[in-house]
Amino acid sequence: MLALDWGFVLEKLILIISIVSVSLVIAMYETYAERKVAAIIQDRRGPNRAGPFGILQPLADGLKLFMKEEIIPNTSNKMLFVLGPCLAMLTAMMTSAVIPWGDRIHFTLFGLDRYISLQIADINIGILYIFGVVSMGVYGIMIGGWASNNKFSLLAAMRGASQVISYELPMGLSLIALLMVTGSLKMSVILGQQLDGWYNVVHQPLGFFIFLICAFAECNRTPFDLPEAENELNFGYHQEYSSMKLGFYLFAEYINMFISSAVMVTLFWGGYDIPFLNDAEAVKNIGYNLMAVFQGLVLFGKILLFVFLFMWVRWTIPRFRYDQLMNLGWKGLIPLGLLNMVITAAVVLWLTK
């Protein structure tokens, strides 16, 4: 046998599978939640016929997408055509690897005595990894536009890609300011500081604000949903897609939304920290496993609040024009991000004098 710690591999594998399936299920029900929230805000009721309260509606939608005809245009680049949505989905899921989903669980079955941490990979470049993967998301859009062999799709893909990359810069700037405050890129260290002290949103309110707006733009959500609008009306970058490939693009957007909310909660709002509760003492009283359950529930509660915020803003604001979008990104948010960095640096230097 290879000199591997098979227990380690097994626990990571199980963790990965469970987190991926949970993200998929949550993204599925996010489509349902989107329709319900949209309906409730618009004085109507939303889907309530498929199953009690319309709970089985996402299954019906998924079945519809499966049953449609898969068209691959003759003149398109076949390999790239299939690769585009796969990349979009891949980058959406990869970010979930560095988010801490809970503290630890104490695994005592089968005579073992292991502490399994609920974070798949606690690398010491945590935030930078997230940033890098988000930058790779541009590939999904560009490849989708190029492989359709359609001038209009290409132009639309250029617009979508330019939106994504121009909002990555302010995101990076706000993360730099956060790094100045926390002193480490490791996600578990950032979270550890928030467990003991104030949440990072108190240290970095402007940084959180900039990060929130950039998250809206990265997920292609209103008011920045110019790519979506193009795809509805005329040749956008996923106009030529049908059935499951289109389903992957649409689904990747919802998974992106979920993961962006998770990242925001972890970086700024304390992740799985239960507010007003001293976690170390609680762990001594009720043990690791029950604590992990509570922490997971608290994390999901916070993430769901943010997802609701995404949807609430979507049905409030009309979408931005392309030049307004670019203006906001380059001429509005980057100076604001730099200002935030300067102020943070000044305050940090003054406090550690």
């Binding site: 409730i40 805000i41 004085d43 109507r44 609430w312 409030t316 604001i317």
Partner: protein, 185 residues
Amino acid sequence: MESLTSRAKLVERKPMTWVEKLYMWNIMKGMLITFRHIFKKKATISYPEEKRAFSPVFRGLQILNRDEEGRENCTACGLCAVACPAEAITMEGAERKPGEEHLYREEKYAAKYEINMLRCIFCGLCEEACPKDAVYLSETFAPANYQRKGFIYGKEDLLIPHPKTNPEEYKKALGNRAKNKQQQN
């Protein structure tokens, strides 16, 4: 220029202030409005549990009328078929045999009377054209169907229930026309 009434408001087109350009305050106000709408009463009618009330002149499905003794009014004169702009009505006439006086009012009756609901535009011209008060448009919809032939309504589907054997159904199907008839008589 002089304004005609005193209600004219002068349009102010001042450039946005620095705070307004930020747009955040307006977005917050908008989000508050949408949040308040979550708790307002919904305007949806849950068909088929609740149904919307129609106006008395609503043009729905056709009904072939009978008189008070239960005899069919229609004499297959064909005026409704000629009047129909979509050519949806077809009929075949037949002669009344001596033993059937309680079934049909006059010597000629419609043996086959078919309306193709896919062609019908519910304009009501057949109701206006009929000289015998035999066709009128009621307050129901044509329900959905999986096949085309389910939409060709024959005489049995269109006849009003018999007033002697089903008086309540007859009254319900007559609807507002009962009131109009009483006003006429």
